[in-house]
């Protein structure tokens, strides 16, 4: 039996491990499938990480190195090259690597920190041929930044989420020509600073309300047909345009990787595709916690670290035998607020609630009401957008006595 097993040694897993250690837990094991700790940060060689956490602009690997150092200093045990295959409801983990073969560990507590995967072309049913030259942005990033290979020279990017924007710049810096970034929605899903620093600075056109409708090329990509979309996001055939290119990068969605959570019967949210958790980041299974991108897709790794600290501390409390919480206050959202994490409150104390909105809204108030319709919290925001995670902090006295909480966006007159 290992007291705490952490699945994933990226920023979430490392931060959780350090927090658990600093809360007194020693019997910890991080299971990481890559050949090094650091997770996806290893390939995020651009900077912009750590502004909140360290007050510095670090690159991904530098941010990861800060946490690796903390893990090494504390001598927290970890296994690399280790893929977890299964987790049971009673916390038996099956994993495999070349040294140990297939082995099982029983854990007292588990922290899920597996991150997310990318949505592939096939999930979008883009018509056309199936040539080489089509990559999800992260896979292309891996080739370029980790392996040192260029996927192609003439690029079209579908999706203006951060990964697409970052890769637009990255490919350009390596000598490729990025002809366009197409975005299905009428607004970009990425951070404003990335639009500036990755597209505008390089004169790469951003085509909002556009999508790729057909892929051409027998063995290698020859080009793509793009078209404008209407208000229902359906392509308008008359606007079709052919762009010759040899590379299509897809940045069309990140999906929390909860295959293992499902084997453990962790309840997932249909909105986030991550676990439903309380303020301690505990899932519906006692002693199983979740944090980072596997819980909900983050924009800033600094918030991942914050979230993972909560999970790590909470797992430590759980291991030390803290009593189960008796209250259960669900947080409902109005749809304009797409989701909140946590989705349920099980302790009356100050709680930071993170959330994302479903569209771009200007001049709004974030209201929290209880089941009686009474306002318990309100905060004005001049602008909220789907691509930027928001948070509010509810004070204990605002939560006490509520049975349910409702979060909504209200237009300010």
């Amino acid at each position: 039996m290992t007291e705490l097993v952490i699945i994933g040694g990226g920023p979430a897993g490392m931060s959780a491990a350090v927090a658990a250690y600093d809360s007194g837990i020693r019997d910890i094991l991080i299971l990481e499938r890559d050949t090094a700790l650091g997770g996806i940060l290893q390939q995020c060689i651009h900077n912009g990480f750590g502004l909140h956490k360290f007050g510095e602009e670090l690159t991904g690997p530098e941010y990861a190195a800060r946490y690796e150092k903390m893990v090494f200093e504390r001598k927290i045990p970890y296994k690399l090259g280790t893929m977890v295959l299964d987790i049971t409801e009673d916390k038996v983990i099956t994993a495999t690597n070349t040294e140990d073969g297939i082995f099982q560990i029983k854990a007292k507590a588990i922290i899920l920190a597996m991150g997310c995967r990318e949505r592939p072309r096939g999930a979008l049913n883009i018509a056309g041929t199936r040539p080489a030259g089509i990559y999800t942005a992260g896979t292309a990033q891996k080739f370029v930044n980790m392996k040192g290979y260029m996927p192609g020279k003439n690029v079209v990017i579908l999706g203006s989420g951060d990964i697409g924007l970052i890769m637009a710049r990255r490919m350009t810096l390596e000598g490729a020509k990025v002809h366009a970034v197409c975005e299905l929605m009428p607004y970009s899903g990425g951070l404003a600073r990335n639009i500036e620093q990755c597209l505008n600075d390089f004169n790469i056109p951003l085509k909002l309300s556009h999508t790729v409708t057909k892929i051409h090329g027998k063995e290698r990509l020859d080009g793509v047909t793009i078209a404008k979309v209407d208000e229902n996001r359906k392509p308008i055939p008359e606007t079709a345009e052919y762009i010759p290119c040899d590379t299509l990068l897809l940045s069309v969605g990140l999906i929390p990787e909860n295959e293992l959570s499902k084997t453990a019967k962790v309840e997932l949210s249909g909105v986030t595709s991550g676990a439903i958790v309380d303020q301690n980041r505990q899932t519906n299974i006692s002693g199983i916690f979740a944090c980072g991108n596997v819980l909900h897709v983050h924009d800033l790794v600094d918030f991942v670290s914050d979230e993972a600290e909560i999970a790590g501390k909470s797992a430590a409390e759980y291991i030390k035998g803290k009593a189960e919480n008796k209250i259960n206050i669900p947080i409902k959202t109005d749809g304009k607020i797409r989701y909140s994490v946590p989705q349920v409150i099980t302790e009356e104390k100050d709680i930071t609630v993170y959330f994302r909105v479903s569209d771009v809204f200007y001049n709004v108030k974030v209201n929290v009401k209880n089941e009686k319709g009474e306002a318990v919290f309100t905060k004005r925001r001049p602008k909220v957008a789907p691509g930027e995670m928001e948070s509010i902090t509810l004070k204990k006295k605002q939560i006490i006595g509520s049975k349910e909480l409702f979060m909504e966006l209200e237009a300010v007159k």
């Binding site: 041929t129 040192g148 290979y149 392509p235």
Partner: protein
Amino acid sequence: MYDVVIIGAGVVGSLAARLLSKFSLSVCVLEKENDVAMGATKANSAIVHAGFDAKEGTLKAKLNVKGSQMMPKICAELGVDYKNNGSLVIGFSDEDKRTITELFERGQKNGVKGLEILDKAALSEKEPNISKNAVCALYAPTGAIVSPYELAIAAMGNAMDNGAELKLDFEVKSIEKEGEAFVISSDTEAVSAKYVINAAGIFADKIAKMIGDNSFEIHPRRGEYILLDSECGSLVSHTIFTTPTKMGKGILVSPTVHNNLLLGPTSEDVEDKTDKATTEQGLENVLNSTGKSVENIPRNKAITSFCGLRAVGDTGDFIINSPLVGFINLAGIESPGLSASPAIAEYALELLENQGLKITEKADFNPIRKSAHYFKNASIEEKNEIIKKDKSFGRIICRCETVTEGEILEAIRTNPKPHDLDGIKRRTRAQMGRCQGGFCSPYITEILARELDIPIEQVTKCGGKSIINIGKTKEEIQND
């Protein structure tokens, strides 16, 4: 000079090669593409039909029923996934009911066992997710599903292990008769053979014309498919058909042997024998049509879509004949071609024997091939024994389908050897999961480069110009 040359390494050519490799014959398979199973064999519905569709007395009918009876043993010998899941042809109207009764009677005449006509209640019990509008069904318990490209790969590998040769990238450009022998030439090479089997799929008419047989035309009929995540694999357990039309068996919903859900195919006559692009309309038709058969098909769980071209002969039946002594056509092999393929191979052998081919069985013929998935199917203890001997089986490369490096290496080293990412995909299932290679393809690219001893820039998706990476990054070039 070879005894027999087979043109085409699809499922028919591969099974024919395997059958012939049982005997003391020199056999060579010529394949235009850079791998086995590159035509319709890798883009079909993967169904071993019960055999009630084809008109009684046709080759399609006879060979379908026989082939479907042969399939379980062949799949067991070759270690290929096969599942006898049963078929249901569902009907929504009185007219459908009449068609279903016709199919039932035809099936009886064709020798199909176990057919039953079900009413709405019985259908709903068998398939709770079937459309509420379905009122009746033909139930064919002998219907099955198989992995068609794995069947071809395993059959060819087994044939090669038993002495048959395979020449890839050999596009037949001319066939001359020189005395007793056929001389078959590509642009760069020529082979000669006493007997030729034309199993060239969509180009079988082109091959036949090379020896002066202008008696048939093959025209391409496109079929588009959508494959859904293995999460959806148990939405239905049988293969669900609607009533057939003259364009084919219709758009079906079927689990695959790998627990995905397969939707398709459409059926559209096209002109270009090389155009395998899917279309917006075709994919939309697949979703709309299947939505009428089965409730709650989760549209957003698609992981890939693809397209195949049926080799439709203009006679309405398989075109299996000998226009010239020593030359056998196995042409027009559209549905139920996969189902019939083992029987087609046997029929081809019969025709060759009728033409004088003398066959003596090899004492050392080994029909058994270790399954490509033996590791996946082994117990944890067995797996750990294997890992102790070869650590590469402890390293998972494809996370979605849990394929190990050991399995990938084995696939690279086993006949018929792959040369590209798609070849590894079809042999191991790596890259076939929900992330479609997003995670594993960089690793597989490295493994291939290492094993084939080629630079990473030469690794391709499917041969030819399908390069994965065009070159090194500037930094890498500086470091060199």
